[in-house]
Each structure stands twice: as structure tokens, then as C-alpha cells.
Symmetry: C2
Subunit: 415 residues, 2 copies
């Protein structure tokens, strides 16, 4: 049985050193990681070739192969990103709030690292570096469990990063890699209470469901995005076409891509042909409700399952609704609470929509594709939370922190 | 099998109404609850007498009977507290941060209710009202599962609160009571994903462990408090005696009470007899390490288990340490991360202690008994979190909120 407890203990020890490390040392380590990735490119590419050969021999589909592939350019991009993170403000030591109580006690609410952050993810080896870099920046040790397809690549990356961190004066165990990609070990990782302070899964809906069901350590649920755009009767229809096109076709494989368009009946006859003409340029397959199919006669009928599906592909579900209320009710029933929007010029409608739709990000007259740490100005992103505890929406460095109350007095006792 | 799913659905529906309810309506409901508790005191006391008779017949110990007992005065206190909460600022609708991005998108990070908050707790019926009141104030529906000892009382309280809420124009199902106190139903409640956004257990260590191990819904762990006070060699020893006495004897049954005192060897000979003389006034039983027993010859030897025990009683473990480092290491090994403190006049020692001790509240020259929502100025408290996600330390109204990003543009798309 793979020795997860030793890995957990080592990470816990490292986290205690990291907690009191200074900003400069952590930033130096990030730059050392970037430099090492650039210098040791041949080694990384060699490991990646090994993974790619295994994946191709196993007949893995091309989208996955693309995610798995590293090139010199991609490695330089990963290294650049690590350096960028080193230039962001330190989220640790920030004093959120402070007060002096009537009895003279000074209470400071300060930001501290969470401790040990575990991540379970799939094929993308860039996540290995991104996650380690963001955890290190925020003073957290990390335990990474990547997909088996990227195993050789991840091992090479982890070894280089651990060396770079150690040379910078921080514990090598600040970055831990689970060197066993079995499901059984992943499930034990989910129950490693006492060593892991938070587990963040990134990947398929199936992976995330498995973590939510099995984990006994605290979890931040990420990712699932069944996103909607409601084209109101007061919409600028030209704007709506641009927003729907962007949401669906700019990058269909990601969680903030659009999956269902809801159209008010008063504008459906005019809007739907405009939308279809634009989406036809990208060969988007439309699946419509009964009334939609009466207007767009060539398209396929949507079934119940379509409303609940995150296609992540060039497919879009389309439904005509009678009212704003029906749009809001449809979103309440089917949205995963990631990103949903309205196109309207009616202020009252936009206020009702943003108040009543209960999603991490609610849009008025903009593409759902903006739900992203970089686009939100967070500087970096460790994932997009679709739960309501701790963090919701794009998670930046400050979401990798916890708080500590520091209370200073001169002998106060409670009466 | 008790129908938890219907209860969950009703709470979810109610939470959707609450989410868009206005501050005044929610405050009116809180005052209506207070008024109803005062008006219907005979009914509540009658139900409570029933619970007390059952508990006494079952031979339940007197501490528990005291917790279970309601009196006219206690009910007035509970009603007053509900009115006080109505006067606190609304935590919902607060805009934490806002930005206008270079592309013109306006992004507002706004506070919204979490949704449905479930609580599992034990004998105190006041928690039933406190929890419902804090959830209602923050726009959350709640599902309450109290202990079987308080069942009749809780049912009376829930019925009165539901009526008051309904008369105020909010759904009665804003407050749901699990009317089955079996363990089996409690365990199903812990897995009611899709209906519960967060589960907060309050009560014994055993209850909390059971929730952490069994729950698949997000949990906020509360309560366990093995708290330490380190008397540094640079301590004002008179102040240290006051702080230790207050921490141990002012209310020993609570989670922020002191359980272990660590004393620097340089001041042990002087301090320990002073401390013992004071604690003897309260008949506190001391359990000391070998060196402590050489100074205080009459006391019992502490064993390994004592360092890890939350006595919640008039018992105190005492250990002599050679250095600040040893004190910090002992706390790292045995503290539950609730509240730990140092008595010192050495600034460098206080800075190291507050940086290195990883607890929710870290004290310098003050009693650990201050870890409390009221004492921290939060106005009210739903519990004290001992985990690092979402909330840590005393949880006030703002900890019962989540966030929603509201993004407004004029046709922005991502390039």
C-alpha cells in the first residue's frame, strides 16, 4: 500500500516552516522554479514524450493528447506564469480588520496560510506547476495527485520544483507528488484527515462527484458549468448574437462556455434565425424546444436531458420562454450555479435577474466566458468554485488563505 | 423512514424566497418570534416540563438537566437576544469589493445568503431559537435537528417560530425541525446533498467526529477546545495567575476554557506555588509533569493522555518547559487549534508565539475565555469554527453568507 501518511506528515512539517517563511524567500523560490523549468527543458520534454507514447499506444483521444502535450513554448509559458505569480502581492499577513474592544483588547483578523492543500486533477501537466506555484506563494504546502497519463511528466516537474524550492531555503516537501495514480490511493488521499486542510479536485464531473462523495477532509468543489444566456424581450439582438456566439464557440471545452440559450417569445422569431446564421459559421449543432423547432425547422428536438447537459462541444440547447420568470425558473432547475447571464436593456429585468439567479457569476450584457481569475483581476486562479462555502467563483491567492485572530492585552480577564 | 427529502425541498423553496426578501421583512419576523416566545411562555414551559420529566426519569446527570431547563427568565433572555439580532446590520447585499475592468466590465463581489443551513446539536433548547434567528437574519433557511432530550421543547419552539415567520410574510418553511431524533435520520441528514449547503454540528466531540466522518454535504467543524496558556520567563507572574485562574475557573465547561498551563523553567519555582494557592480556592485538581511534581509535591502526575484531554472541568494539566520553542512544539502537538496564549512582556517572544502558534485565536497577556462572538464584537455567534475553511474562530452573521459576482457590461465578449 502506497505510503500516503508519510507524504502527509512531510507536507505538514513543511507547512509549519512555510507558515513563518518571509515573502522574499517564497518569491525567490518561485523564480527558481521558473529558471529550472527553462534550464531543464530537455528532461521535461523527454518525460512528456514517454507519456505521449504510452497515451497514443493506449488509443487515447486527440483532445486528451493535446492537453497532455508539452512543447518548448508551453514550458516557457508555464515558467513565465510562475514568475508573474512571484510579482503578485503576498496574500499572507494581510490584516483584514482590526478593533480595540472597550476593555482595551486589540483584536487583529490576520490572513494565514491554510496549511496543506491537496489537489486531484487529470491530464494537464501545467496544473502541476500552477497549483504548486500558487500554494507556495500563499505559504501552503501541497500534495498533488495528477492523472496517470501525465505521470512521467509530473514526476519530472515535481523533482525539478522540489530541488528549486530546497535551493531557495524552503523545504523540498513543500511540494509533494503522489507517486501512485491508482483509484484506491486517490480514495485514501480523500480521507487523509489530520494531514490535509483542504482538497480541491479539478477535472471531469465524475472525478468531482467521487471526491464529494468519498472525502472526509474539507473539499472545495470546482468546475461543473451548465451555463445559460437569457435573451430578454428588451435585448439588443445584435449584441445577443455576439454574446451567444462568443459563449458557445470561442472555447467550447471549458466550464464557462455557454450550453443553453433561453429566448423570450416576443423576440424569438427575429432572433433565432440571426443566431443560427452566426452559429452555422462554426457548425454549431442546435437542439431546440418544440417552439424553437417551429421557427428553426431544420434543427433537432431537444429532450429533457439536453437541458441538464454540459456539452463542452459545438452543441447548444435552445428554449423559448414566455417570461423572465420562466427563464429564472429554468435556470434554477438546470444551472450548476457557475455562470448565467441576461441580455437586456430593461433595468428592472436586469435587477430581478441578478437578484434571483443564484450562481457564482451572474452577467448582464456580457459573455459568460469572463468567469476566470485573470479576467476578474485576481492575477491567478487555482480553480472555479461552484460551492458556497469558503470561496465561490474564480479562486485567487486570497482564497488559499485562512484567518487567525491575534488578541493582545495587558492582563484582561473575562468577568 | 422519516421523510427528510420533503423537509429539504421545503427548506430549499423557502430559501429561494428568503434570498430576495428585504431587510425589514426579515427583521419584523425576528421581532415577531421574540413576541411570540414571550406571549406563549406557558406552552413552552409546559413542553419543557415534559422533557425534564422524561430526562429525570431516565436518570440524566444534573449538568445536562440544567442545560435543558427553561424558565420564564431564560425565555425572556432568548426573546431579547432575537430582538438584538434584529437590530444588527444586515449582512446581505453588502458589496465586499468592486472593480471596473479595462474592458469596461463592472464586477461587484456581493454578499448573498448561503441557502440552506442545517444544524445538529444536543440538549440546549436555546440553540434552536438562536440558530433559527441568525439564519433568518442572514436570509438562510435552516433545518434544525436538536437532541432527543429537548424534543418536546424544540417542537413547541419551532411551531411558534414558524407561525411568527409566516405572519410576517415569509415562508414557514424558513425554519424546519427534524421531528425524528434517531441516529439513522441524523446520518441521512449528513448526506442530504442538493438540499443542504452547509451543516454545522454543535455539541460533544463525539457528535462532531461523527459529522466529519459521515457527512457528504459541506461541514463547518466547531467546538473542540484543548486550550493552552504559556507562562514565559518574561511574564508578569501576578498577571499570569489572574489569566490562568480566569481561563480555568470562570466557566470550566466551555470550549475556550483553559486545559493546560506551560511554565518556563526559569519562573516555575516562583510561579507554580502562586498559581496553586489561587486555584486551590476553586478546588482545581492539578496534574503535573515530573518537574512540576518536584515543586508541587502534593499533586498527581500527569500522563500522556492528560496533555490531549479537554477536561471541561476543574482539572488543569501543568508542564514545565525549557524554552519558548518547547512551548510552541507542545502546543503544535496537542492543541485543537481553538485558543492558545502566552503571558510575557518580551516583545520578540510574543511575536514568535503569535506567528508560530497555528490556532484560531492566539492571545498575548489575556484570557482565552474571550474567544466568543460577543466579546469579539461580532454581535452574535452561531458557533466557533476550529477548521480553516470558510470561517475560523467565532462565527458571526457574515460567516452565514456566501458571495455572488455580479458582472455588468454593454456587450463585452472575450477575445
Amino acid at each position: 500500500m502506497y505510503d500516503l501518511v508519510s507524504l502527509g506528515k512531510a507536507a505538514r512539517q513543511a507547512s509549519m516552516k512555510l507558515r513563518t517563511s518571509d515573502t522574499n524567500t517564497r518569491n525567490t523560490a518561485l523564480c527558481a522554479i521558473a529558471a529550472s523549468l527553462r534550464e531543464n527543458m530537455p528532461e521535461i520534454l523527454e518525460a512528456n514524450r514517454l507519456d505521449l507514447a504510452t497515451a497514443k499506444a493506449a488509443g487515447i483521444r486527440s483532445v486528451m493528447i493535446d492537453r497532455l502535450t508539452l512543447t518548448a513554448e508551453r514550458i516557457r509559458g508555464i515558467a513565465d506564469a510562475a514568475e508573474e505569480v512571484s510579482r503578485l502581492a503576498d496574500p499572507i499577513g494581510v490584516i483584514d480588520r482590526g478593533t480595540t474592544r472597550p476593555n482595551g483588547l486589540q483584536i487583529l483578523k490576520t490572513r494565514v496560510p491554510i496549511g496543506v492543500v491537496a489537489m486531484i486533477f487529470e491530464a494537464r501537466p501545467n496544473v502541476t506547476v500552477d497549483a504548486a506555484v500558487l500554494c507556495l506563494k500563499s505559504g501552503n504546502a501541497c500534495i498533488l495527485r495528477g492523472g496517470k497519463e501525465a505521470f512521467a511528466t509530473n514526476r519530472a516537474l515535481a523533482r525539478l520544483m522540489r530541488e528549486a524550492v530546497e535551493k531557495s531555503g524552503l523545504p523540498a516537501d513543500s511540494i509533494g507528488l503522489v507517486e501512485d495514480t491508482s483509484h484506491e490511493t486517490a480514495e485514501r488521499l480523500m480521507k487523509l484527515n489530520g494531514y490535509i486542510d483542504v482538497l480541491i479536485p479539478r477535472g471531469s464531473a465524475r472525478l468531482i462527484r467521487s471526491v464529494v462523495e468519498n472525502a472526509t477532509v474539507p473539499v472545495i468543489e470546482t468546475g461543473a458549468g451548465n451555463c445559460h444566456m437569457y435573451v430578454d424581450r428588451a435585448a439588443n439582438l445584435g449584441m445577443a448574437v455576439e454574446i451567444v456566439d462568443n459563449g458557445k464557440t470561442q472555447r467550447p471545452s471549458v466550464c464557462n462556455a455557454l450550453e443553453t440559450v433561453l429566448v423570450h417569445r416576443d423576440v424569438a422569431t427575429e432572433f433565432l434565425p440571426m443566431m443560427k446564421a452566426r452559429l452555422d459559421l462554426h457548425n454549431v449543432e442546435l437542439r431546440g424546444c418544440e417552439r424553437t423547432c417551429q421557427i428553426l425547422r431544420s434543427i433537432r428536438r431537444a429532450c429533457e436531458e439536453d437541458w441538464a447537459t454540459e456539452y463542452n462541444d459545438f452543441i447548444l440547447a435552445v428554449k423559448i420562454v414566455d417570461s423572465l420568470d420562466e427563464a429564472i425558473a429554468h435556470i434554477a432547475a438546470y444551472s450548476t450555479g457557475h455562470s448565467d447571464g441576461i441580455v437586456t436593456n430593461d433595468l428592472a429585468a436586469s435587477r430581478r435577474f441578478t437578484a434571483e439567479v443564484d450562481s457564482a457569476a451572474v452577467y448582464v450584457n456580457a459573455s459568460t466566458r469572463f468567469t476566470d481569475g485573470g479576467e476578474f483581476g485576481l492575477g491567478a486562479e487555482i480553480g472555479i468554485s461552484t460551492q458556497k462555502l469558503h470561496a465561490r467563483g474564480p479562486m485567487g491567492l486570497s482564497d488559499l488563505t485562512s484567518i487567525k485572530y491575534i488578541v493582545t492585552g495587558d492582563g484582561q480577564i473575562r468577568s
